[in-house]
Symmetry: D2
Subunit: 351 residues, 4 copies
């Protein structure tokens, strides 16, 4: 008579037997599935503009905007290479358009933001209305709206693209269509949407033209910066964020897009901020000035000096601490609206 098998062996045998039935024992993985705190696979990463720009220009030589549909260099998180993702849920890229070019019209479920990094005079057209781009402008392409880009002025224009591509892929919910014509027809004068919704007033009649997404396409940098400056002068400085504002959808008071939140902040000269961490990982674009960011998680620490047009990503639950000798302005975006909608946003401010 055989001795009974030891438990460990019985378990392995069970695992083997049930495996073909697509069954797996939870208890072997439970700890990894519900970790004590977020353990993102992402790491911080930095893209110095003077290193990235030459590649953008070379891209301008080897492919046309039209051929590429969108001539973009994707900023990939070093630990998510091949996934076109800068955090697990977000996509970021730098798009180049050259004078005379057109990026053809299409639409998709994915929401997009553009933040203008270099150059002026290109336009993006959304739903029949064009917006001319200037550095620092924050421009939106709402989900499922026709959009194309073009450039009729002199110098190259580069902008940061932020999309919810990985999120829509994760939820298996993306649709897309190409337009039959290259550029859509212009049906409204430039600035009409802003005139209608951008002045703390709104039409008496008519539904929100883009559902949960802001009816304003373009938040001009001039006005955003003015707000920051006024507040820096008049309101108390935040020890973590300096002066920080979020962009607002003027007909809901909420985020400009249901999936992406956007922010603009100003660190005054001499700022030495304290650290904080959030569950939403964020991508930063340096608009003006210089500074330094220290990112840490557990024992690890990354430190980086930054200047205009540099980009970097602070992953979920990584502590970021900002400082700036001469002052600076930073644009950033994250998936915070989703964290809030799902009731899972969490934040910690260290002191």
């Amino acid at each position: 008579m055989n001795a009974p098998l030891p438990t460990a062996q019985l378990r392995q045998q069970l695992y083997r037997d049930m495996d073909p039935h697509n069954l797996t024992p939870l208890w072997e993985v439970l700890h990894a599935l519900v970790p004590p705190q977020p353990r993102t696979p992402c790491v911080p990463a930095f893209w110095r503009y003077d290193e990235v720009r030459p590649y953008l220009m070379r891209a301008g030589e080897v492919i046309t905007a039209e051929e590429a549909v969108r001539r973009v260099l994707i900023l990939e998180n070093p630990k998510l290479r091949g996934q076109s993702a800068v955090t697990q849920s977000l996509y970021a890229g730098l798009q180049l358009i050259l004078p005379g070019e057109v990026a053809p019209s299409h639409r998709h479920t994915q929401s997009a933001l553009r933040f203008i990094v270099e150059g002026s005079g290109a336009y993006t057209a959304v739903d029949g209305e064009r917006t001319t781009m200037r550095p620092g402008d924050f421009i939106i392409t709402p989900s499922w709206t026709w959009h194309d880009h073009g450039h009729e002025a002199r110098d190259p224009v580069v902008w940061l693209d932020g999309l919810d591509i990985p999120m829509i892929r994760f939820f298996d919910a993306g649709f897309a269509q190409n337009d039959t014509s290259k550029s859509q027809q212009v049906t409204r004068t430039e600035g009409t949407s802003f005139a209608r919704y951008g002045h703390n007033m709104a039409p008496v009649r008519g539904a929100a033209p883009h559902g949960r997404t802001s009816p304003i396409f373009s938040y001009p940098y001039e006005r955003s910066r003015e707000a920051l400056e006024r507040l820096e002068r008049d309101a108390p400085l935040d020890a973590w964020d300096g002066t920080k504002l979020r962009y607002v959808n003027p007909i809901t008071g909420g985020w400009p897009m249901p999936t992406i939140g956007t922010f603009l902040q100003k660190l005054p000269a001499g700022f030495a901020g304290q650290g904080s961490r959030q569950t939403d990982g964020a991508v930063y674009s340096v608009v003006e000035g210089e500074g330094e960011v220290t990112v840490s998680a557990g024992e690890q620490e990354w430190r980086c000096a930054f200047g205009p047009r540099d980009h970097f990503v602070v992953p979920s639950w990584h502590t970021a601490r900002f400082s700036s000798e001469k002052g600076c302005v930073l644009f950033s975006f994250s998936d915070r609206p989703v964290h809030e909608a799902l009731g899972i946003h969490h934040e910690e401010r260290l002191s």
Copy 2:
């Protein structure tokens, strides 16, 4: 043996018997209680500024702002005399403040709007922040915030006050307090609230400072008018309203106050509008230009030409039709937010 009393007599006897018990037969009044359509006791009324202004100035001579607390001539609906009401739910008045005067600080449940009619340089202070007044500015005093007014410039300043006084009285819900000091202390630079919330951006942290009421105190006419003008140029004209915008609470997308909605509209030169009626009665203040309004209800019709600084009221379910040879700009306010919150707003556009 007596014959039985006829029914009519029995009913009367019942009414008499139960009257001391505070009981009344519904069937004698049912039709009046649930009329087939609104039957407001209010009538249209007009206040020509050149007729009203002399009384305002005489008021300036016979009482000081401080003594009066608020030196206001109430615009009473002719059919609601003695009730301090311009419609059943709203109060309107013209307030005068003279150079050097102060209207002392108090607060109350009632929400207030100020629409500047004449003169510049007076201020209103709300919760520690002053706003300088210019003609056409729309300014808010949120419910239960300390506020006072003062005037340090040269000429008389007159503004339209709109409050929900009759509504708060109807709901038996009003509280009030006087401040111990005449004017409240200034704790924030002028314009801070606007910088914080007026540019389609908002602070990342912190709750709405005034609950359901807009955190913006002042909607400057310059910007509101610019929006109207842009839209008049670029968007199709509405056959009833010309170009009409509502003021927006930038952190909810809703009305600036929970009880009062405000509007600004522009009729282009040559406009001959069609008639419409609403359940919410509205008070109008003419900002610029000239025009004519025809108000009708059943067989009755009122017609009035208007010019700058004139005021008039269009009661509930009265049809109003506007026209303007030279073009004009009109500010108006009503209790539409309440009609919408209660699900009782109704509108009819005639063609």
Copy 3:
């Protein structure tokens, strides 16, 4: 040469001169307009059922339900006689329907509640669905839905009607229509609405059938009472309210009607509650048991013992204190949803 007129005289002269222009000096009435705390014209009032019932029965003799359209004795606030109002904003009445009678079909903007006081077997039909009435059931007629009542069983049926008639009148927003047929056609089995929405489940498709109003017509007393009893046993007693629940619109979580809130509460035997006051005045219907309520405002105090089917009203900002030797169940309704929507609800609990 005459001496200048004294100020008081000048003021009077100004008042007289401007009066024909519908202008009134605010400063003479300001204090009354913004009182330091609510000063309702209403007073508490009590209707003992054994006093009221005989009048109801006499009404049954002198007029038919059909002739009356609605055979109701209105409970009028002693200080609002002639206004068909129990508080400034609400209407209450006791409706009688006799076996074989029909109260014909109509609809109106006004929302209505029925709370069954005596008798069983009458029905109310709303939008094609009938509900049979049993004592303690809370039944809703949503705004602008066809409704009629009928009675095919044996004994008289009496219910409390609560409507927002004065409120809709105040806002000049009421419409009404009579049906061409006496009773509407039945298109759904009794109980369908409850089956659809009453079990913490809802249809996957389809909009809310009555907008902001609960899709449930009838909240049966049996279930409401069961909830109260369970909580009385298991949850801590509230020192002011005993055990008190509000009725809920199951597809919004909010009030059953946008204008009226309804409540059911149980005071255990031996309860001696503390006093509280609210800005919303409330009408009470005693369902079971006996008790006593003391209402006070300033120096004045009203005290009343109550038993089954008695009714009383506690006006705005009057302190009510309940006690009960043997225990009792109370239904009540007020305009609290409006106070909350307008941001003016206020409450004070004394200890």
Copy 4:
């Protein structure tokens, strides 16, 4: 002199050069990133209960509930093996608890549902309140609430666990804690939460105890089934879904959890449904009866007969068509609340 390199070669050289900088060309992957319609990696899968049950029982022999913390066999999507995921965003598993066992107390950000499959008498305790399990009951563990399970009756109890584990991992937002004591202390009588919120009534005071999650822990099958049956009898049948209800959070009218929607549906005997597809993939648990489901995507088709306690998954944008000769009841859950919150839910009903 060399000839210039061909474009293709120049591009490859660019890709190689920029690769170390975490830069990738969008144009090489664009089509895959924004596909014309959802292309989930998931496939349909079926778990017949008579095949799964023996493994569950063997698991009962090789590990205790306490040692396992949760003794669960994860239902893994065949194309997501090793990821503990049944769809990209959801986790499903079958949990076994034996008489006398305890699954120790912990809490985590992840929301959980339990749907009882076999056996009675086990309990789950949430926040100090126990709920006894019966087949067909739908029970919730809100995010970040302490919970443990135990079993004091006779036979094995098996339930379906549904959690948002992959979603919380994707958003890098999960926290977890183990309790210091094995089972939490009972502080409320069983049924208190249901008494408080389950009868279309709610406490007058106090905030929602679990934020966006339903305050009801347990939706008993008895009542849910009764609702289905009533509707099947009285309301028109849906050609796609038969009679289908969603579970409701009674204090919001929305979904029971912010991340997971749950449904119960009844197909009458002889039902032959039409096909529909949704962006939200769903997991089904067969409660009663028998039927057949055909799932298709493009050319591929899966067909499966099912009986009581069987489970299956219909992935995103796969067409499902149900039929049933003898009638059946199905429970299902999906991430629809998230699709709706993000504005990306899409559905197509074929006819």
